[in-house]
């Protein structure tokens, strides 16, 4: 059983990070969100649409865009702009409207100058930004990213996270972000922790990362600042609860 009686509701405009070790059911959960997988029992609704309703399938997939882990295995066309056009082409959008959407989407992820490139000449981070643009061109309202940075170098990781944060902030896109990198999870408004197909924690980054012990027991990390703060407290240093970022620790220590 990959998912075990999961109850979860994500509001429009939220930025949710999902954490969990490999095999905890994160990817299975993500694939439920745009009907790539269907629940064996229970219901999954996307913007009110039941994912099991075949006639709404394309509406659902248009509403929820997916970005996967391996940047190479989700770019279909041999040229960047043609790949971004792939989604709207499938939806039967008229060609001048596709052109406009492709231009907008590439601009939104800062890849306009690479529009004529072949994908294999791009870095991993750039490929993932192209993949994000590909979902934006379908007018996606919710972006589900399944470990989008796992195969990237630090520069690529930063590129992807910054792009996602900006889209969330400026376009109000709902984000579901699965990751192993705690610093990335700390950027979310809410963190959901999964274990053995169940949701075991659900709260703000502060609440989740404040409990260093509990996270460790689940085989997960916490951001360094949270760990250091926790260890300093054990050494008798008086610090406020729920320190997550470097800046918070600096303020607490230097007040």
């Amino acid at each position: 059983m990959a998912l075990d009686h999961v109850d979860l509701s994500i509001e429009e405009g939220e930025f949710v990070a999902i954490l969990g070790t490999n095999g905890s059911g994160k990817s299975t959960l993500a694939k439920q969100l745009n009907a790539i997988l269907l629940p064996t029992s229970g219901v999954c609704r996307v913007a009110g649409m039941d994912t099991r309703a075949a006639e709404r399938l394309w509406d659902i997939r248009q509403t929820v865009g997916m970005v996967f882990q391996n940047p190479d295995n989700q770019i279909i066309a041999a040229i960047v702009e043609d790949d971004v056009a792939f989604g709207p082409e499938n939806l039967g959008v008229p060609s001048d409207e596709i052109r406009r959407r492709v231009d907008e989407s590439l601009a939104a992820v800062g890849m306009t100058s690479f529009r004529g490139f072949a994908p294999h000449l791009l870095s991993g981070g750039q490929k993932q930004r192209v993949a994000i643009a590909g979902t934006l061109a379908m007018k996606t309202k919710c972006l589900v990213l399944d470990e989008p940075t796992a195969m990237l170098d630090p520069v690529g990781r930063r590129e992807v996270l910054e792009t996602v944060r900006r889209l969330h902030r400026e376009s109000g896109i709902t984000v579901v972000y699965i990751t192993h990198f705690m610093e990335e999870a700390a950027a979310a408004q809410r963190i959901v922790v999964m274990e053995d197909g169940k949701i075991v924690e659900d709260g703000s980054p502060k609440a989740i990362f404040g409990r260093v012990d509990a996270m460790r027991k689940r085989g997960l990390d916490v951001p360094l600042a949270a760990e250091v703060a926790w260890k300093l407290q054990k050494q008798g240093i008086q610090l406020p609860e729920n320190i997550v970022t470097n800046e918070e620790l600096a303020v607490a220590l230097c007040r």
């Binding site: 070790t21 360094l224 303020v251 220590l253 007040r255």
Partner: protein, 289 residues
């Protein structure tokens, strides 16, 4: 005896419009028994560099010597020298092909034409070292294992060659935090207990900071920094030039220092960072700032 790169230049697709110089006049000596980390962003030339270490690529100009033998040489000697360097590629689990774990690990030793007994001995000890129980896993298909276990099988496949030098390209990429932690510990053990000379290529500064004795930053096909971690990671400007970020501990302590806490930034584990902060606070007589 060390590995020596003498003024190595390497050009891809020489003589075509796609010509690209990946390494430019690189000179580097990897001392026996050291643990060196090579860092650099994608395209910095670090992967090209390590492929020179066991003769997969030969320099367009310059030479690579392992224990004093030029790897580009035609003689048997050069072949033997190349074998001294074990190479674990990025995502090594993608190279598994045999039906059982034991058979896959045995592939290398069998290519060395060792006796069956010796092959079995090596498979067993390599599996032990990567903490895969021989009896439990030897007859299991490698493709039924978890990602972390598959990677350990692949690394065992290289260890079974009994190399003197071990090169690992992004060994922890794609692993979850727990699997990553375990693998790093095994690598440090290889260095300490088996006295292997280890070269780790990575862009994960946290990994590098925790284990390397020496850090080489590559940028644009040449060596930008070559220093112990305590120096290399504090060279802010060079790191930025190489497109790298400081390890989290250094970043944290630097911020504290900017805010006025008199703390040394040369800590590479959480515990060291805590010690530095405690020391700084005590110096202040218990006052935090």
């Amino acid at each position: 005896m060390p590995i020596e790169l003498r003024d190595v230049t390497y050009t891809y697709m020489k003589g075509t419009p796609f010509e690209r110089t990946a390494l430019q006049n690189v000179s580097l000596t990897i001392a026996d028994g050291s643990l060196t980390a090579i860092a650099g962003h994608t395209g910095s030339g670090k992967s090209t560099l390590v492929q020179h270490l066991n003769g997969l690529l030969h320099p367009t100009k310059g030479e690579v010597l392992v224990d004093g033998v030029n790897l580009a040489g035609k003689k048997e000697e050069a072949g033997l020298a190349r074998r001294k360097v074990g190479m674990v590629f990025q995502y090594p689990e993608q190279q598994l092909f045999e039906e059982t774990v034991a058979a896959d690990i045995a592939f290398g030793p069998k290519n060395l034409e060792l006796s069956e007994d010796e092959v079995n001995r090596r498979v067993r000890s390599a599996m032990e070292f990567v903490q895969l129980d021989y009896e439990t896993y030897k007859d299991v298909s490698p493709f039924r294992l978890s990602g972390g276990q598959m990677r350990r099988v692949a690394i065992a496949g290289v260890l079974a060659l009994k190399p003197d030098y071990l090169v690992l390209d992004e060994p922890t990429a794609g692993l979850d935090p727990q699997a990553r932690e375990e693998l790093l510990r095994r690598i440090v053990d290889l260095h300490r207990k088996k006295k292997l000379t280890i070269i780790v290529v990575s862009h994960n500064m946290e990994d590098i900071a925790r284990m390397a004795e020496r850090v080489v930053f590559m940028h644009d096909g040449h060596v930008l920094v070559d220093a112990p971690p305590s120096k290399a990671f504090l060279a802010d400007e060079k790191m930025r030039e190489a497109g790298l970020t400081a390890p989290p501990t250094v970043a944290l302590l630097s911020i504290l220092r900017d805010k006025g806490l008199q703390v040394d930034a040369d800590a590479f584990t959480a515990d060291e960072a805590v010690k530095r902060i405690l020391k700084a606070i005590q110096k202040k007589g218990g006052a935090k700032c």
